[in-house]
Subunit: 326 residues, 2 copies
């Protein structure tokens, strides 16, 4: 099942059920006007939403055309946004770029940060660049949206709490990171609003691509019209989503609608390219002594889309343009 | 005006208007069933809620008795919880306790972390101690709840976005902090759910105690029945709430209902005592070579309450007991 949120002038938008080809949609029943409403009451909501999904697929409901321009983030405001950094190749490269060592527990203790969740961007929302010196970067990631998740949830039980899978652009202001991390309290100003692909899907919608708590999809990043990364999100995700969930649930419980990210998808094979500019700049530094690729600037475009082995695009595409403040 | 949230079986509870003496309450109009509803529509909601407040004060509405046992956190789940560390005496002492230096920008660049906001505790909720080795500590703080706050809000404009003032226990698992901060991404497991005093108040309700974006109140912490701290929350808050708001809004905007904390209230005058055990342990280490006070254990009680110069308690008391998991 595929869902999306239509901008309708309200803070949380209107929940849509999307036909599997991504071309047609129908509104969710009024009882679950928003995705948060559905997540709060998932057992009942899921049945009703899957019935609409079936009717759309059979053609019993025609649906209306989907316009990604009119879609918001699936959860335009969410109760938590937690981001891991589960692709170790990314951690190693980005820390190298900052002249920092990866932590000694890199392979055993997941890196996680708490992100801001009150303002999420839709798939076509511009990236407003307030100051070029901040070093705007995109980061292509997979994320899951959780149902209610108790404290102490183990990795073995965690899969039951994964409701939906998403594709995100975890925007980062690279040049604000070093001073912020030096203060010791983690990212804050360096992490502006995160953007989401048009659709979220239930794990079963990914079919064989959802394996061992990982999305075995290729995540393609197209920057300024050039395919800059076509990375495999599956095998090199060192910690699976269930393992990340067990980590975050050690001392806390989570409300339905909590979003948990994988961290930037990254492959050791350089031929796959990169899912953020910081990695490309680090590779240039290793090869050529200094970075050649600047960070993003006004007029730049970034497109992020994931594909399964059959070439299907479950989430649709994030397409954002960097703009000056109006 | 004084507000609270009654547990009514729903996720967000039921908004109450509280008589100024804290003893009687009336339900908010159905149009604003929850505090989040009111914050989302503040201009209209505030008028209606203040009318009820006036009627309670005049005795035109009798109200029903307030039972703090039945109150939830004002926002049982919130869109963001951001915590500063604006009392520099606390930063210096706690870093000393960890053998870490305060950052060189201590006086010019606020320390801020993004906390978890999907699960907030009410004023009588127990503190469940899952593992004594985690080093459970309380932290007494003032917080503000914001209305919609645009990116780029300046300190001069920030006061307009402060809707409510709160008293919180920012619970910390001290022994999980060092490894977590060593990884570089900030707190996560070390910050379990935060607890809130029964009532939130509009800044005007604090009268002269709300000055220059700070709450000039005494915050009393009573641990195991002993007053362990009676700290002044006003003058030593190095960064005011408007300054903290300007800091967090540099690169992001915030949804109504975002909660922003002051950090642990701390005074250089040792006679005031402490607003967390970590400070007391550090003082013992300085004086006696090692800490004598253990962290919290099952059966311990912590009570946190703030008083104005006239002895009034605007928020009511947080009263929590440490319990074993059931």
């Amino acid at each position: 099942m595929k869902l999306a949120t239509l901008r309708d002038g309200t803070r949380d938008g209107r929940l849509l059920v999307i036909r599997r080809d991504g071309a047609a949609a129908t509104s969710a029943p009024d009882e679950w006007r928003t995705l948060q409403d559905a997540l709060d009451d998932w057992e009942r909501a899921e049945r009703a939403l899957r019935a609409l999904d079936g009717a759309l697929e059979r053609g019993a409901i025609e649906g209306v055309p989907v316009d990604p321009e009119r879609l918001a983030a699936p959860l335009p405001r969410a109760y938590e946004w937690i981001d891991g950094s589960a692709y170790l190749n990314h951690v190693i490269l980005v820390r190298k770029a900052r002249g920092a060592e990866p932590p000694p527990t890199l392979q055993t203790d997941p890196l996680i940060y708490q992100g801001g969740s009150g303002d999420m961007l839709g798939p076509r929302d511009p990236l407003v660049l307030h100051d070029e010196a901040w070093g705007l970067d995109y980061e292509s990631e997979i994320a899951v949206i959780l149902g209610d998740t108790p404290l102490g949830t183990t990795a073995a039980d965690a899969a039951d709490h994964v409701r939906l899978v998403a594709l995100v652009n975890d925007v980062t202001l690279r040049n604000l990171v070093p001073t912020e991390l030096a203060k010791g309290f983690g990212f804050f100003q360096s992490k502006p609003a995160t953007a989401f692909a048009p659709f979220v899907v239930t794990p079963d919608e990914l079919g064989d691509a959802w394996q061992a708590g990982r999305a075995h999809l290729r995540v393609r990043s197209t920057y300024r019209g050039e395919v800059i990364g076509d990375c495999d999100a599956g095998p090199e995700m060192h910690f699976s989503f269930p393992e990340l969930i067990a980590h975050v649930a050690k001392t806390r419980r989570f409300a339905a609608g909590t979003i948990l990210g994988s961290g930037t998808v990254s492959n050791a094979d350089r031929a796959r390219g990169v899912s953020c500019l910081a990695e490309r700049r680090m590779i240039e530094t290793i090869d050529e002594g200094k970075p050649r690729t600047p960070f993003m600037t006004v007029g730049d475009t970034i497109e992020i889309e994931a594909f399964d082995a059959g070439g299907k695009s479950p989430f649709g595409a994030i397409r954002q343009k960097v703009v000056a403040p109006s």
